[in-house]
Symmetry: C3
Subunit: 521 residues, 3 copies
């Protein structure tokens, strides 16, 4: 509580530093008269076409954009007059709804993670994901989108000129998506920032203070994610210019969150009792539901990254679903061979691993390649999770084991399996005679270094302010009670009053005499 004021102050400071300029400008014009005023973006559109042509090989995310522009161009050629970028209702419907699907992934992740922890930590784990939606959404509007996608500064970061969504309105920004309202593109991208922050929380589940989590997340998304997104996706970003391919976020989302999670897991130390006390997932049906929602939302994540309702989106849909399916099958067969039984947790984990691996490759590989990538995803991530105990860190819910390892493999596999026969705006991987793999390795290495060093530094700051880890007593009690004053399932326990410990836990901790609890009605 004492440090709460400090946290509030810091968040306020953030807001002031970056956000308040946003109030200065005239806000966005989401004017219904867009059709009338769109001539002013005419020149911009022509530029965009030229730009797209010149960055053909280096700007994979512009694929759909360019396609749309090309179509426009063809149509324009028929009427012998240049046409400005114009909102396409089908593309817009697709991307708005894709954004909604990606948003749903974070509540899905809350359940996926929430089912895997012990009952006494279910709410705190869910909260990590849920409140990430709140925190990141606000920062995104204030300054995040501008830092990530705003006018480039030296290939490293966007300027603050779009802070407060200034000039992010109903007119398309053809640099990113010529057929979508700019605000739709901006919201679609927001959902990626949210889930990246939430993904990290799997690594430090069951032992991090909520105040420390909140400050860490605010700093991490501001200092790591926004710049990294700019590097890879922003016009002028250095990794985009380099020509590394990342269709839907293999480096930006999965490697960055996995690596950061690993660093945090190491710094925070293991959960008390790990290795001696069993910590089975307390509610696997919840985890499977979460995996189902993740799979569903991932269609928006990957197919939506085509930024239009077209054959490329369809192709990404095919590879996404197929890789997830193949990985789920591969994981349970790997378990079956090694442990004798295929598990439901394995099926869910395998599906997520497949989805992670296909993410950077979704719009660049063939359906058959996606099967191979999926099978390898299931096996590799299974091995990573199995090896974890021997490596000595406690990545509680395998944020690194699945997102770090899977994301890394996906980035590399993209450099192997990508083919311009699927997407002429992509590149050819190793199997198709191209030199993409080197670029992929550079992008991966840069992401590892940036995420690891950045997370280390941010952790030091956060730990200095709040002491990041909860006390031993609070950890024993559970984070739900100690951090939030709530219980996940209070009616399911044997108790004598409202604030109670479950039968099992009470017997373990001996805080309340079990005999009294059973007999003392």
């Amino acid at each position: 509580m004492k440090r709460f004021a400090l946290l509030a102050a810091i968040l306020l400071l953030f807001t002031c530093l970056f956000g308040l300029p946003a109030f200065a400008d005239e806000p966005v014009k989401a004017d219904a008269k867009a059709a009338v005023t769109e001539t002013k973006s005419d020149a911009k559109a022509t530029d965009a076409k030229a730009t797209d042509a010149s960055v053909k090989e280096t700007a994979p995310e512009a694929a759909a954009t360019t396609e749309a522009v090309a179509t426009d161009a063809a149509a324009a050629a028929e009427t012998a007059a240049p046409e400005p970028p114009k909102v396409d209702t089908g593309d817009t419907a697709f991307v708005i709804l894709s954004a909604a699907l990606v948003m749903l992934m974070t509540p899905g992740l809350a359940l996926f993670y929430g089912g895997m922890v012990r009952k006494k930590n279910v709410l705190s784990t869910i909260m990590h994901s849920f409140i990430a939606i709140g925190l990141v959404s606000v920062l995104w509007v204030l300054y995040g989108y501008s830092l990530a996608f705003g006018p480039d500064i030296n290939g490293l970061i966007g300027s603050l000129s779009w802070a407060g969504f200034n000039s992010v309105g109903a007119d398309p920004n053809p640099d990113y998506a010529a057929t979508l309202p700019h605000n739709v593109f901006a919201m679609f991208q927001l959902m990626f920032a949210i889930i990246t922050v939430a993904l990290i929380s799997g690594a430090f589940a069951e032992r991090m203070k909520f105040s420390a989590f909140l400050l860490f997340s605010a700093l991490w998304v501001s200092l790591i994610y926004f710049p990294l997104a700019h590097w890879v996706w922003g016009v002028g970003g250095w990794l985009r210019t380099l020509g590394a391919l990342d269709f839907a976020g293999g480096t930006v989302v999965h490697i960055s969150s996995g690596v950061s999670g690993l660093v945090l897991a190491i710094m925070l130390g293991k959960r008390r009792g790990l290795g001696t006390t069993p910590m089975p997932p307390h509610q696997l049906p919840m985890t499977v539901l979460g995996a189902g929602l993740l799979w569903f939302g991932w269609f928006g994540f990957n197919a939506g990254s085509a930024l239009g309702a077209n054959g490329l989106a369809g192709s990404a849909f095919v590879t996404t679903n197929t890789a997830a399916a193949a990985a789920a099958m591969a994981w349970i067969f790997a378990e079956w061979i090694r442990q004798g039984k295929p598990t439901v947790l394995g099926a869910a984990s395998g599906a997520v691993a497949g989805l992670v691996v296909i993410t950077p490759a979704a719009g660049f590989v063939t359906p058959m390649s996606s099967i191979i990538m999926g099978v390898l995803a299931g096996i590799i991530c299974y091995i990573a999770v199995v090896l974890k105990p021997r490596l000595g860190y406690d990545d509680a819910l395998d944020a690194f084991g699945i997102h770090g390892v899977g994301g890394t493999f996906g980035a590399i596999a993209t450099g192997i399996f990508a083919t311009t026969s699927v997407n002429s705006l992509g590149a050819d991987g190793l199997l198709y005679g191209g030199d993409l793999l080197t670029k992929q390795l550079i992008a991966t290495g840069a992401t590892y270094a940036f995420a690891a060093v950045g997370t280390f530094i941010i952790y030091q700051i956060v730990n200095a302010i709040f002491k990041a880890r909860v006390s031993a007593e609070d950890e024993e009690t559970g984070l739900d009670i100690s951090q939030h004053g709530e219980e996940g399932y209070p009616d399911f326990v044997v108790h004598g009053g409202i604030s109670s410990f479950s039968f099992v836990e009470s017997s373990a901790t001996a805080k309340s005499p079990a005999k009294e609890m059973v007999h003392g009605h």
Copy 2:
């Protein structure tokens, strides 16, 4: 059971009164040959254009319609020939899928509410929402849509000429949406009616008879919702003509349900034991999942209300997500300050409060305004919920505290923050020098009066027939067993037979000797 026949009779009567005429007419032509026959709606479209122009300031819901018509007009101007309203596939895809998202909100609400009650009432609470989908959907097709949106009678109600979805087919109705099949518009609107009925149930959870609930809901949606929707959204409705702005249902959905819930809560009285027995939410993970589904579906609710996949929809998407996020953050910080700990229930409640507040304003305000509205939403609704115990009524799940208070604040805030720079078909609020606020206050006042008086009268009727409240014994037992003969989690209890009470409850009620339950296997 005795009164069951009466309930059936009344529902049948309803059907006969309103529904049977529907069988008389030739049913809707959702003909695939629409393209060929659409010339017949040519004149209508021209009328619509004229109408839209004249009601420019007073018909906010027609914004997207008009925009589309304007675009058509522009296109038509190019080819120098008037063009009839034509289905746009992008807009249609967007609104059909938005309708599906809004439908999902009601199962989401079932979980949101269901997690908050005691375990013994979880099914009855879920049932209130789930069966609302069944009940309202049938009435909507029979006569509801026609009463709400059918040809106007004195600004108060629609006629029955569209009963049975007569003439609600594949051709657009340009009065409402020139680019959508009429049946798509009608189904989108249905989903709003469903959730409004379901929202009320939060106020009387854990104590209302199911038969009384069913009759109340049938009467309420018929006598309150359908007229109110006509007032605000129907062509010719008096509040629409007045010029009050309600983008997606602040008055019609949230104020009306909140106020009606408050009246019911007062009439029914408090739950037994309130204030002496703790009644913590029995399963908060369920509540958070519900909140996640509500947030997801709300994109359909608000962005879908643009009735097209365009920049206005994008703008509504931005403000919706941002307000929800800001409100979730504000609520937990308010709790943190006042109670010392931020809760997961607070984050979920805050998000919903933000979504409620932004609903009437979604298409009229800037992103920065949505942050301010969200922060205020979180704080104001938190205060409302905290003050509740002192006010003496038992609005069990805060239907009034969130939807009534939030809806009221949203309607007023729309009168303050709305700006024509976002939506030229909206109006300027207080901050932008307009006089919208007065109209908003009139609309709010009218909704309060109509909903409160109507609910009071309907309650008297229902109570006279069924005695609305369950007996003390049934309430003690729980509504799941007493109303539905089911239990939410029978395998999780200690019992000797199938029909059992949970360990805790049995010890409290002493219906079965606990000793026997524990030892008597």
Copy 3:
């Protein structure tokens, strides 16, 4: 474990037999340059138009296709030049997202079924659905889609020329959907195959070995589903040519799964203790959530089957929602009359029954007809479920009672209520003077015979290899532990170690002395 190698070998064999040819060909070109290369499909499109015209009455599934082609034709007429099939962004957005919705139905089914079994079998039941997504998705890409929709061989099966999604790319296939990328159509259809396999599992819940389930599912989908889908939906399929109507899968999905489930339930025998031990659903909130997700996803299933965002999709949306609603109401009223109380399980089951019944009819009947069909659906399926115990088989979760009976009634009702006033490419049912009913009966009979005989044979194979049913001991222990080594809710039980049995079960099976479990902390 011993037979695991065999299972792997068989699955590998499958892959080799059908899948490996896929590697031989050049993979699919989901090229972004589609606009440039599409002229090559010009001739094909013209053929399609001719074909569609000639099969007008006999090819209901081509309705949307034809409609789109007709629209193209009209547009082309204006410019006096033939136009090749071209991707429509609105239609594509609609069908991609519909595919995502249908995918979500299977996790929804996992919960719907999972909540109905006993706690000790919740994971195995969920797993049946979840892993079906994995298994069927992979087979679909390898050879399933080609067998179902590939170039016709004697009206019975598709050829393998599209194996590995060869030639299933970004260009439309106007035989199926002239305005969609072919890969989008293919993925939409996949989702139907997945859920059909998952639906069957309701019949044999709580007693089938996982290995046997997996092999059965692989064989069943390959030998029953793929051919059946070809018969009804493939160009050249004999039931399609016959002129039977099945808008979204009444025969292919529901009758086939229901009948196959019935056969399996009979062959496997009853669950141990059925009739003497109560087996109430262990978590009805989970079942209602599942029903909600099914209802939501069914909009994609039925409206999406219009294959375009148009008035026909809107019409299917109307009838789908209305029938589900009417059936939910009818079921609970039927219960109320017969049993004295309306149940939540009844509302959920009724909704699903209504959705099943309307599936074959969704695009062919009026809104008022959908109310009648829904009411009858609720009553008929309720009777089927109530009568089940007297018929002596143990269709555990009513796969036959709802999908078999409902699907059959739906197919027949389509023959009664279909009208060309709703869909000119449909046919007139009995009420409208047409002779459709005979065709519907032929299609239904053929599906019954094929599914029943095929399932019987496949069962013999599977049983010979694996012994399909779990041992008595494993069944007593529960399939979660015995098949997967996991528990659904380990933290909710009273136990002394990690691998534990719940309080209730342990007391029943007396494996661990209850006294020790309670006291021996």
